[in-house]
Symmetry: C2
Subunit: 346 residues, 2 copies
DNA sequence: GAAATCTCCGAAAACGATTTCGAAAATAAC
DNA sequence: GTTATTTTCGAAATCGTTTTCGGAGATTTC
């Protein structure tokens, strides 16, 4: 292990005072350009960089932000989140902040993860996703006054910064597209409605039905887990109805994947016989059978933007002006069914 | 923001000395059970927990370990790594260590990420994956004497701890299975051979050929990028040969996905006409067309185990006894082709 | 050329914990 | 009851940095 040098030693070698060296390195005023240069060069030469422990102690800032992976993400599943992480990291790389991640184990202990993060580890800020309509995490963080930004909005508490990829437009436009193709009974496979994205998806779905003056049938929407298995089971349930849907809108590509499987099980062709649309543009979507029509989800960009919003927030900007809702775009492949009616989307 | 209390204030309220409180909290000897209990209760009551900044400064340990995501992982792709991360986090959750992750941007700046992590951020240890035959990261970390454990072995430097999911057996058993079905020209779609996993895969492939007394044809192995597109292009190249392979072994399920696409493009049926086997048990494998035969990759468990190895290493155990090679298991679905010869795997 | 004003630099005080080492109190030994 | 030994506690040093504030020395102003 190479010998490490501290600021006092560096000052000694330079014949300067510690304070001067510190100011030079942190570019605070009160030090001439000449000595600043001299210090910087020496720091480079001797491989000095301030020990974060000392700095943190003095400045009372950890220069870390915490990210909590929500419980249902455990085990495989969503490339989505990896992409989000990469975006966040990308954004953070321009700042002095470090990203520390922890995975919430279960829904019950999830808040505990937040507490550990802010009360023990003392991160400067927090990020998370999978917001819920009523979200205890939002309440907790606002109560303790810790800066945070979420992926997704919520109905909880005072305004907070977020980036939200709007599931309403996915629900509305997807459903409307089916309507345009002449479908009158459209199934919706969604994750539980307490999740914000699911709630919004269902809202969009209803809005599209209403616009088309179609009745809402509660039996046509089933809430499942956000994975292939959920899609499989949910679609089986829909298809077993006496009056089954003729098209299925899904809250996620993984759900759509399972749904197409279920459709194939009944001897019908997913896409051609029963069209399906998913959400979030899973990378393997184009390789499914048939290739999956879906809605875009620029997760990487969202992550990067979340960092910007967080920085702005910590810089004193008002949360209200730090809320962004992004519209996903329809990505047409072929699972959405025939080209009967060409362009009829809302 | 709730008022935070420090150890001095807690000691004052208890009528004890700071040192006593500290010892009680860290369970160092030299303090009676009675006062220890008293201190612990008071800490709980007043919501005190030691400021990590102070502790780190004094103990000269950061209690963080860094994980570097390798560059090619950027943008979507591998659920693999998320799973690994979850495993690592799971393992770490029993320890005082925090996980901080950074994403190496490009191969050139990757070492820079390591340097920042150990020289500036001063993590106590490091983890990474995607080892290479000649791996500068290994060299750097060993040189600086920082504890680390890798996912995958390497040919670089002195022994170090790792968990390796053995690609040799995937290459050998996959190829052997094709041989058992009577194939004599077997294609191999691998990632570049400087990656350890690819090198091992190719070794396994050659071993199987040798065992079956089949000639090795360099034209039959093509190195591509580790994603769907790589598989697509690689398989196109193989199929365009004057004497194309009749079966294709792939270094990853994503590659296999692209390969099956390429096969379908030529009007042949992947699986039935040209069988394909992948690696790493991608969660969507069962939903591909046809369902993908692959090799298991218990990434979550590997992550958890890596943490245990790391802890053992930091506890003074010799690196040599902290190396584990796990054999992946064949997961039969149907893309490996006909049941011509029933059970003929090695 | 003296006074006023700027520029730089340095001494010392935090920040909050852990750890060493010596002292006091409690217990044991005789 | 005195001494020896063990147990329990406390004072102070230390980790490495940033920041405040005062004081030289250089520069300008009249």
């Amino acid at each position: 292990m190479k010998q490490r040098i501290n600021i006092a030693e560096l000052a000694r070698r330079l014949g300067l005072a510690v304070s001067t060296v510190s100011k030079a390195i942190n570019d605070r005023g009160d030090v001439s350009d000449a000595t600043k240069r001299r210090v910087l060069e020496a720091a480079e030469k001797f491989g000095f960089s301030p020990d974060p422990a000392g700095r943190r102690l003095r400045t009372q800032t950890s220069e870390t932000i915490g990210f909590v992976l929500s419980p249902p993400q455990t085990h495989f599943a969503h490339p989505f989140f990896l992409d989000l992480l990469m975006g966040i990291d990308q954004g953070l790389s321009q700042t002095p902040f470090q990203l520390i991640i922890v995975a919430g184990r279960t829904l019950e202990t999830e808040l505990e993860s937040f507490r550990r993060l802010v009360e023990r580890q003392r991160v400067d800020a927090v990020m998370f996703g999978r917001t819920r309509r009523d979200d205890p995490r939002v309440r907790y963080l606002q109560e303790r006054n810790v800066p945070f930004v979420a992926l997704g909005r919520s109905e909880t508490g005072k305004p907070f910064p977020f980036v939200d990829i709007d599931r309403t437009v996915a629900g509305r436009n997807g459903t409307a597209r089916f309507v345009g193709f002449g479908h009158r009974r459209i199934g919706l496979l969604s994750t539980p409605g307490y999740l914000m994205i699911s709630h919004l998806l269902q809202e969009g779905y209803r809005a599209a039905l209403k616009a088309a003056k179609l009745p809402f049938d509660a039996d046509l929407v089933v809430e499942t887990s956000n994975d292939e298995e959920g899609g499989l089971n949910g679609a089986r349930q829909l298809l077993a109805m006496s009056n089954p849907p003729t098209a299925i809108m899904c809250g996620h590509d993984l759900i759509a994947t399972g749904a197409m499987q279920a459709i194939a099980e009944t001897g019908r062709r997913p896409g051609a016989d029963i069209p399906v649309i998913g959400c979030d543009n899973h990378p393997l979507g184009p390789y499914l059978n048939p290739p999956l029509t879906t809605f875009s989800a620029p997760t990487f960009e969202a992550g990067r933007r979340m960092v910007e919003l967080l920085l702005a927030l910590m810089d004193g900007r008002s949360p209200k002006e730090l809320q962004e809702i992004w519209s996903p775009e329809l990505i047409l492949r072929s699972s959405h069914g025939g080209q009967l009616v060409a362009a009829n989307e809302v």
